[in-house]
């Protein structure tokens, strides 16, 4: 015990504490970055958040905006509470990282030194993955996988469509942001069509054969949207390889499908700054240590949220927020020379398949051989045979979760 205590005293006098107060820079003010900046600040550290936009537009619940069930204003959040908390907020894009000198360069040329850097840049859409689907094509066939103008564009397209039209929605292979998100969107678009344009059809083309909460979604579709929503998996020829803008068609190996409204969700990778910083591997995503979320490739740089490879954890706002808290505590320990404990994280993702009809998937994660893995016996999806009151409760909890997570991230 005496030995231990003396060793501990030595550890707590590690250089970072003895010298100037350590500085943490966080790049990206979304669910991961904003949550992490706030948690680091609560732990007493000096924090600067780098985020180009003055207003953040949240993706969770943006599918209800697309379906006309919710106003866009409720998706928007500012950074005033972060400033009030004493976090420096630079409304700039980070353009470079010098990991040797520990400096971040911003778009205006200014330079921020750091002791530890957190990257939470979210996703970049791969405009090189589907033939003909580039940024200009996204103005015609919106992805709406970054919330904001794209969400409003898809909403406007659906509103302008005549009754009797066809909507085509394409889904990428794993991994991508929000695994159940495309199927929630399909459900809510189907709800809009059934209630407002009942002679219309929705065709969902998927690049895979199995997906998140599949049995729950399929049971709901059969009950709520029979004859309206057609789902084509990979094995049925669902993999989209390109688009033909002039004909408003998507291209598969088995033929083309025309749509009056076409929503292409393209393949994705980590946000560009992750690659620029050297933290992304050949997959386009960032390998990290599961206890600290420190990059496996670049020391003193941590990657959280959609950009990181979090093993069994999905790319969700819940996960980004949970990782942000664990990462903030790990950084606080590391800056004090203390070891980082074994990690444990949770995830819960709700989807709405219609108003008042919620379903969920949950997980508990621990590190197994350096990768976050499902805890055996825990997690899973809502029961298949749950009564309507259960589905209603989960729809209510989904709303409540959104209120809590956005309050935690943005105040």
């Amino acid at each position: 015990m005496r030995v231990a205590r003396r060793a501990l005293a030595g550890l707590f006098a590690a250089p970072a504490l003895a010298q100037a107060a350590p500085v943490v820079v966080v790049v990206g003010g979304g669910f991961g970055g904003a949550s992490c900046a706030r948690a680091l600040r609560r732990n007493g550290l000096a924090v600067t958040l780098v985020e180009p936009h003055a207003t953040y537009t949240a993706c969770p619940f943006s599918n209800t905006v697309i379906a006309g069930l919710r106003p866009m204003e409720r998706q928007r959040f500012g950074y005033g509470a972060l400033r009030d908390q004493g976090i420096g907020v630079a409304h700039q894009a980070a353009t470079g990282v010098d990991a040797t000198a520990r400096r971040v360069t911003l778009a205006d040329g200014s330079v921020l030194p750091y002791d530890r850097l957190v990257l939470s840049p979210g996703i970049a859409l791969r405009f090189d993955a589907l033939a003909g689907y580039d940024e200009a094509a996204a103005e015609v066939m919106p992805h709406a996988w970054h919330a904001g103008a794209q969400t409003e564009l898809l909403r406007a397209r659906l509103e302008a469509m005549e009754d009797g039209g066809t909507v085509v929605l394409t889904v990428p292979a794993n991994p991508y942001r929000c695994p159940p998100g495309p199927y929630e969107r399909a459900s809510l678009v189907a709800h809009y069509l059934r209630t407002r344009k009942p002679r219309s059809k929705l065709l969902v083309l998927d690049a895979k054969d199995a997906f998140s909460k599949q049995r729950l979604f399929e049971a709901a579709w059969a009950a709520l949207y029979p004859g309206l929503l057609e789902y084509v998996p990979l094995s049925g020829g669902g993999r989209v390889t390109g688009v033909n803008l002039a004909a408003r068609e998507v291209v598969t190996e088995f033929g083309n499908h025309a749509g009056d409204v076409v929503n292409v969700i393209p393949p994705q990778r980590a946000g560009d700054i992750a690659r620029i910083a050297g933290t992304a591997d050949r997959s386009g995503w960032c390998p990290v240590d599961p206890a600290s979320f420190e990059s496996r490739l670049v020391p003193n740089v941590h990657v959280i949220g959609d950009a990181c490879i979090a093993g069994a954890m999905p790319k969700s706002a819940f996960a980004a927020n949970a990782q942000a808290r664990v990462c903030a505590d790990a950084i606080t320990r590391l800056l004090r020379g203390a070891p980082v404990p074994e990690p444990r994280l949770l995830n819960t993702c709700y989807s709405l398949v219609g108003p008042g009809y919620g379903i969920s998937v949950a997980g508990v994660y621990r590190a197994v051989e350096g990768v976050l893995a499902d805890s055996p016996g825990a997690g899973g999806i809502s029961p298949l045979d749950a009564p309507p009151a259960f589905r209603e409760a989960e729809a209510l909890y989904a709303e409540d979760w959104f209120a809590t997570i956005t309050a935690d991230a943005f105040g």
Binding site: M1, V3, A4, A7, L8, L11, N43, G44, F318, N321, A322, R325, V326, D329, T332, R333, R336, A338, P339, P341, E342, P343, R344, L345, L346, N347, T348, S360, A362, V364, R366, S375, G377, A378, G379, G380, S382, F390, A393, E394, L396, Y397, E399, D400, W401, A403, T404, I405, A407, D408
Partner: protein, 90 residues
């Protein structure tokens, strides 16, 4: 060897700073807001930690009705659940 092991165990268990969460606990705040008292999902701030630990045990055993807490509580042992309960009510 023995003192080194003891030290590493001690360091794992010791919080490095005030209010540090035990493993798994900080994720709870993603739904259970310490700031919002009016939510459909209850805030746990100020609750009796023994009562919260008992609830976690009941969710784990499947003896309390739940939507998602049964699926989450099964990921933790009794000792882990007690540590989480003690922290999450702060």
């Amino acid at each position: 060897m023995a003192p080194r092991l003891a030290l590493s165990l001690l360091l794992q268990a010791m919080p490095a700073f005030a209010g540090e969460a035990p493993p798994g606990a900080s994720s709870c705040l993603g739904c259970h807001s310490p700031a919002r008292a009016d939510g459909a999902i209850p805030s746990l701030r100020g609750r009796d930690p023994a009562e919260v630990a008992a609830l976690l045990r009941a969710y784990r055993d499947g003896t309390a009705p739940a939507t998602v807490m049964d699926r989450l509580a099964r990921g933790f042992s009794e000792a882990e659940s007690r540590a989480i309960a003690a922290w999450v009510v702060r």
